[in-house]
Symmetry: C2
Subunit: 436 residues, 2 copies
């Protein structure tokens, strides 16, 4: 993509409305604009990151055996009355009356709707287990939306729902998601800590939040110091290793504010750390909390009706864009992990009025593009300094620059955004190096 | 995907609530379920089709130079008041009050919001032309939603918006979209006729609807009979050929009901055809209708402010799922064009209790999957007849079946769903044939 044609309205100044660094940088990099309080439009650069995160989430869900579908944003209120949750959500639920005066709502989550689909369509134990997910916009009418996409009102979430015949199978589904979450976040360059958590309005007795540590986190969290040097064990875990991975990760103490009890904490004070954290995922096992009131049962092997055991699992897809920036930036701007970067490479023409320089840049752009590498090509008539600042701000993993001197000596300046490492390479070597 | 594990709840009987064939078949094939009036959940099979259509739309937009972004579903009412359209939409607009009692709405379209983004972020003629699109759910509170996803209340639409410095450039953007639309629909196996159309609440003086002919179409359309043998001319049209392609397609008479005037029609009665049609796309050129009241102007080459010229362009992504079925089915079920089929191949194990048969099927399934071919593998314990009926119903382009006799002779039965052609091939030849 040529930057001269790309819609990427960067800002030089820090916008005053942004209180945290991810919000500031997303506005400055031209990734998002606020449409109204807590509601954002994703401009092309931000949209690309959102899609990459979504795709990683999708691949790990598919790998874990979940099946993708899509439920609507607008739901009828009656299912929520049936489950008994219509009042629980209070004013955070966006309530709507349609033209026929029917009570509707913008779904904040989908336990009721998926359970209704299940009970109407799945009748036999032979159809279990099932794990169904979707990636859809949700709405939560926060009284004080803030922190940009980290605590917006309209937000993109992956949520899924497992259905099992008995408690043991249900916990296996929970474990599979626990491991899928570790893999998902690891692929984005994050190291979240799974923490025992309160279940809130979702309910149930088993729940973990996946927390990314960051100074700007919304709540305080407590964890054993060994988590900071913790080993993942997730790469090659097969179906049979799920419990041992979960045991490994839950063997060390970690708990959110609401769950942490200083008096009863098993960790010695010297080993206990407290920092602020950002929740990027939350998983729940709640047995028959929804299946029982909504009558989601299957015919068991012996012909008797069996109420199914359920869990639900959320990942804040749009929130992750902010969380990754909180975890990975410096004074100059964003530092994208390669897996979620909007483009892998920035290409800077340092002198657009020099024909040889423009030709060399065009040529490298064509070659990188032909090799399937995503390149943002700064072909604008701007000073070199401004171009480097823009590239640092938007945080692409690699910067490649060609100026008149480089053209003469056949050299491309290459910089790694994360390490600051600088190289001088021939165009062919750039290609070899970045195609990897 | 193994059908024994897949969530695809097919129905034997025709659901009574479905009045048209696409709605019936989508329910019977387990593609969708109604969540509430005019609002659908997309089950895994339907979701796959929706995503394939979305991806074709995306690729042709990108090819035409449009840039993808994403605007939210919920908008503040104030921009609509500013443009003067807040009352135009009447009761079809879903109006919402948030907890602060602010007037919000579920966007039925996005001219206001994109114009607001434009005016706040684009200041110079050097940044033009721009063409921005998004694929997002919309809501239209139909008084009598019906015909399944063809006339639902919550629906997925691609809409984009072009911004140009003057009328000539604006019409060039319009032409580019006209051709992109022809390409988009052709890739889905459709042959829509572009028809001069009324502009309705969008406004402007130049507009075409893209209409697929079908008995179940919602409105009557009129066109020159030569359209039925019309040649496309779109494959290799470059940037400079846009006008001639548009001239070619608009040279023959075609008009929707509202626009057709029997008295003034230039086509002789013998050459005029009238049938029912389904609108799958609609494009508008409306100049400064929104840019003027909303103050979207750029600094022109001479330093003066110039109000930009705009067009908007819609494709009904979720509606296309139904429209394609209306255009392509028989008594037995759906006939998917390969480009949008949920899976390319169905594989039927005709005797699951025969170990040799199961082994041969497993082996072919592994080989097809390894070749990157999407296969739905019916490994359920069902009668062969029921399996063939299910495959006919869900309409995958190719059916491959292995029974005990085939195992002995090393033969796979292959059927093309569209032509009915049957072949007997070795497993290796199946692979060669279907990998194409």
């Amino acid at each position: 993509m040529r930057l001269s044609q790309y819609f990427m309205p960067t800002l030089r100044e820090n916008p005053t409305e942004a209180q945290i660094v991810s919000h500031r940088l997303m506005l400055r990099a031209g990734m998002v604009r606020q449409a109204s309080a807590g509601i954002y439009s994703w401009l092309p650069l931000g949209f690309r990151v959102l899609k990459k995160i979504e795709q990683i989430v999708r691949e790990e869900q598919d790998r874990a055996g979940a099946q993708e579908m899509l439920m609507p944003t607008i739901q009828a209120a009656d299912l929520w009355v049936e489950s008994g949750r219509y009042d629980d959500y209070g004013k955070e639920m966006l309530r709507i009356k349609d033209r026929q005066d029917r009570e509707m709502l913008y779904g904040p989550t989908n336990e009721e709707l998926i359970t209704d689909i299940f009970r109407n369509n799945i009748k036999s134990y032979k159809d279990l287990p099932k794990n169904l997910y979707h990636i859809q916009w949700k709405f939560r009418d926060e009284i004080r939306p803030r922190f940009g996409v980290m605590r917006g009102r309209e937000f993109l979430m992956k949520d899924n729902y497992s259905f099992d015949l008995d408690d043991e199978a249900g916990r296996r589904s929970y474990n599979a998601m626990f491991v899928a979450y570790l893999r998902t976040f690891a692929r984005m360059g994050l190291k979240p800590i799974p923490m025992a958590a309160d279940t809130g309005p979702i309910g149930g007795d088993l729940s973990h939040e996946f927390i990314v540590l960051a100074e700007t986190g919304e709540s305080e969290v407590f964890y054993h110091k060994d988590f900071e040097t913790f080993d993942a064990l997730i790469e090659n875990a097969g179906q049979d290793d799920l419990q041992s991975v979960v045991d490994h990760w839950t063997g060390l103490y970690a708990a959110t504010d609401e769950k942490h009890d200083p008096a009863g904490c098993p960790v010695a004070a010297a080993d206990l750390k407290s920092r602020r954290g950002i929740e990027v995922g939350h998983i729940f096992y709640f047995g028959d909390k929804y299946s029982k009131p909504l009558g989601a049962a299957v015919q068991g092997p012996d012909g008797e009706a069996v109420t199914v055991q359920m869990g639900s699992y959320g990942i804040g897809v749009s929130r992750l864009v902010g969380a990754i920036i909180e975890a990975s930036h410096d004074e100059a701007g964003i530092i994208w992990p390669e897996s979620v970067a909007p483009f892998k490479v920035g290409l800077l023409n340092l002198r657009v009025d020099d024909a040889a320089c423009a030709n060399a840049c065009d040529d490298l752009y064509d070659k990188l593009s032909a090799a399937g590498i995503e390149v943002l090509y700064d072909d604008r008539d701007e000073r070199a300094g401004a171009k480097f600042s823009t590239m640092d701000l938007i945080g692409l993993p690699w910067q490649t620059a060609i100026g008149p001197r480089g053209v003469k000596s056949g050299i491309v300046e290459v910089k790694n955004r994360a390490t600051g490492e600088r190289l001088e390479l021939s165009p062919d070597d750039v290609l070899t190096r970045l195609a990897g």
